[in-house]
């Protein structure tokens, strides 16, 4: 007993010293291992380009409408020093191209950006237009560690833009120094100019509270079969800046570590592609630098699973006529909107509305399907008596028309939170044949006015 204790105590100091060695603050590699390092210069444009290719600006392909003429420098305008980058955003009908955008590439083999936490620059506009996107990490080859910040509202005075680096430790050799894309959507087609100055990677020390997310932060359940693949989408990360403002960026899968709880059912590669390898259940999660992302994918793999997707991010949707047919006597407004880097359907002033797929596209045969899956978020408070009826219509506009309704009570919905429903098709009271479904109705009779819909598909269990 005493001897055991003696040995035990002797080990503690060794263990303690081991921890000191391992946890000492600088994470230096041992002397024996020398990694090649690349220049750690953060400057991109001060009064002139710094260490960029001779081309400086590498435009998107003119064949897709990118205007190569509107880029230059301006010696009359500068936030600091004597010169700035000047970008003239063309009108959509400009013969030289209807939008402008491209990248700046490091002229060498790339830079070591691991010591920085953000790309920053000062920008001002000739008017308060919106730049569609700015970012970095695009090299027109792999675009492996690309990051984008969307909808930068310009001011007619200089303001600083901060684009956080998702995980600086990944950027040991990055060539993509800057990317931008600008059109005239925000100015109704009127061209405008904006200037960029003091473009650089910086170590601000105030980029904090990383909150990554996948799949819009939602838990998505997907029935599937062996051999299918899906790609994890809506990759985003929110940081809190030193100003207290939350900044959300879009980023590529390579920043994430993906994990499958059962790789025998499905495994994920570094590009976020999920391959279904066996039957069973598995949960796909993701993280950035140890921070677990909001949202996960629950893969339900079986022999017989089939789906018909009306509106999902992960599967190919059937073509539809529209997401809001605007019938006579109908008050519902809304349709597709962007949210968290993906699309959802959002209706306002809902009384009734339908997704239509029978006019210029073929109706769908869901005879083999067993369930309707749908996610619903009520964007307001829920009162007693509130409801949403979901109605399926077969053989629209023919004498064989048949329809069935399933009623979702307000008590089964949660204000401002997504609720996922799996509704057996046998529960759609009144629905006869379902070989030519052409309409999916949402009816609240005004009890619920504001509602968002996502992930609509039929499944066979």
């Amino acid at each position: 007993m005493k001897i055991y204790r003696y040995i035990h105590l002797r080990f503690i100091p060794l263990l303690g010293l081991g921890i000191v060695a391992l946890l000492s603050c600088e994470r230096d590699f041992s002397d024996e291992v020398k990694f090649a390092t690349f220049p750690a210069n953060g400057d991109i444009f001060t009064d002139a380009p710094v260490g960029l290719t001779d081309k400086f600006f590498d435009s998107f392909d003119p064949a897709v409408g990118a205007n190569t003429e509107g880029f230059g420098t301006d010696d009359d305008v500068a936030f600091e020093g004597t010169s700035s980058i000047r970008i003239d955003v063309p009108a959509p009908d400009d013969p030289n191209g209807g939008f402008i955008g491209g990248i700046f590439l490091d002229r060498g083999a790339g830079r070591d950006l691991t010591g920085f936490d953000a790309l920053t620059f000062y920008v001002k506009g000739s008017t308060t237009a919106t730049i569609d996107e700015v970012g970095f990490g695009s090299d027109f080859e792999e675009d492996k560690f690309a990051v984008g910040l969307q909808n930068i509202r310009l001011s007619t005075d200089w303001k600083k833009v901060i684009i956080p680096i998702p995980d600086p430790s990944k950027l040991v050799q990055e060539r993509g120094m800057f990317r931008f894309s600008a059109g005239t959507l925000s100015t109704n087609g009127v061209g405008f100019t904006f200037w960029i100055d003091e473009l650089q990677f910086e170590n601000l020390g105030t980029i904090a509270q990383s909150r990554p997310s996948i799949l819009g932060g939602n838990d998505s359940r997907f029935p599937t079969t062996v051999g299918q693949t899906v790609t994890i989408s809506q990759l985003q990360q929110t940081f809190n800046l030193g100003s207290g403002i939350d900044q959300t960026i879009n980023l590529t899968p390579s920043y994430f570590s993906f994990k499958s709880s059962d790789p025998n059912v499905a495994f994920v590669d570094e590009l976020g592609e999920v391959t279904v390898a066996g039957t069973g259940l598995t949960e796909i999660t993701a993280s950035i630098a140890g921070v677990l992302a909001d949202g996960k994918l629950l893969v339900e793999s079986s022999e017989s699973a089939q789906i018909v997707s009306i509106f999902t991010d992960l599967f190919a949707d059937i073509p539809v006529d529209n997401y809001n047919g605007f019938f006579l006597g109908q008050n519902t407004k809304g349709g597709l909107v962007e949210e968290n880097g993906g699309q959802i359907i959002r209706y306002t002033q809902l009384d009734f509305v339908s997704i239509n797929f029978f006019q210029n596209v073929a109706p769908i045969d869901i005879t083999e399907m067993t369930d309707l899956r749908i996610s619903i978020r009520v964007d307001e408070s829920i009162d007693a008596g509130d409801f949403i009826n979901i109605q399926l219509v077969n053989s629209v506009g023919t004498p064989d028309l048949t329809s069935g309704t399933f009623r979702i009570e307000g008590g089964d919905l949660v204000p401002n939170e997504w609720v996922e429903f799996q509704i057996p098709l046998s529960s759609f009271t009144g629905l006869g044949a379902r070989n030519a479904i052409g309409q999916l109705f949402f009816v609240s009779d005004g009890t619920i006015s504001n509602v968002s819909i996502d992930n609509i598909f039929f499944s066979a269990e």
Partner: protein, 288 residues
């Protein structure tokens, strides 16, 4: 047998010493230097290092419960939105830290819960150095604080009884903490104080030391190693055109709390993350 035991003990002692030496190395290697060069009062008279897991030590701390209605100040005098409890989910000691956690939940008709600890009636002192090492939460609506209140507010209602705010922060200004005093003629929006702003750092990502040195004729404010403000009776005179009164001459007690919403930070918004926790590593009081 005896000899063997003795031998073992000697080696054990050596082992213990090495263990603590290596621990010290670990601590000193990674943490910022805690040595105060701006503080000069060094006789420790009261401390809580939060070394025992569970509820805070009831010989040192008591709780303010509710929304202030019982005390005659609903919303704690600031239209705050939280209901304070002493439940472990709002306040507990874990791994050497006091954790005050604000939650968004329906509770007694309120939408938020949190906690407020005081040393009222347990430890009260005039003058000295009051210091704590704290990491705050972030986001609009959070209002964490480490402060002192005069111990005679029952007979001499605020602001007459005085308030010394050693650290306050609003969650949407993560780089700024502020220290101030309230008293007759200088209170609420007209309190006397100053902001301290970090460069290349934030108050919600690591621990920082907040302290005052309080003597009969001055209160010095410091954050980490920086003395950033001195408030004197003359300052009170100047700022209030002679109307204010220096009431910082009697025993005060310590308060630690996380408020949600209220006049100063405004309400949380839909980006505010709940729950979040203020961590307190220690609270120490010294005399000159």
């Amino acid at each position: 047998m005896k000899h063997k035991v003795l031998n073992t003990n000697i080696k054990s002692m050596w082992a213990y010493k090495m263990f603590f030496a290596s621990l010290l190395l670990l601590v000193m290697g990674c943490e910022t230097d805690d040595t105060q060069t701006v503080a000069t009062f060094n006789t420790l008279v009261w401390e809580d290092n939060f070394d025992v897991d569970g509820a805070p030590d009831s010989s040192r701390w008591r709780f303010d419960i509710g929304d202030g209605t019982e005390q005659g100040i609903p919303g704690w005098g600031n239209d705050e939105l939280q209901y304070y409890t002493d439940r472990s989910e709002n306040v507990t000691v874990q791994n050497g830290f006091l954790l005050i956690t604000a939650k968004q939940e329906d509770f007694n008709g309120f939408s938020f819960t949190s906690a407020r600890l005081t040393t009222q009636g347990l430890f009260e002192q005039a003058y000295g150095r009051f210091e704590a090492r704290i990491r705050v939460p972030f986001g609009k609506g959070y209002w964490p604080a480490f402060w002192l209140s005069g111990n005679n507010c029952a007979d001499n209602p605020w602001p007459a009884c005085g308030e010394i705010d050693i650290m306050e922060n609003v969650g949407d200004e993560p780089t700024i903490a502020f220290g101030s005093v309230h008293g007759p003629g200088f209170f609420g929006g007209d309190s006397i104080g100053k902001d301290y702003e970090l460069t290349n750092d934030r108050f919600d990502t690591g621990f920082h030391i907040f302290g005052i040195e309080w003597a009969p004729d001055y209160i010095n404010y410091y954050v980490d190693g920086d003395l950033y403000q001195q408030i004197t009776p003359e300052d009170i005179d100047e700022e209030t055109d002679g109307q204010g009164e220096w009431v910082f001459d009697r025993p005060f007690y310590i308060i630690l709390n996380v408020a949600i919403g209220g006049n100063l930070p405004g309400p949380p918004n839909n980006e505010t993350v709940f729950p979040q926790t203020m961590l307190v590593d220690y609270v120490r009081v010294y005399q000159q």
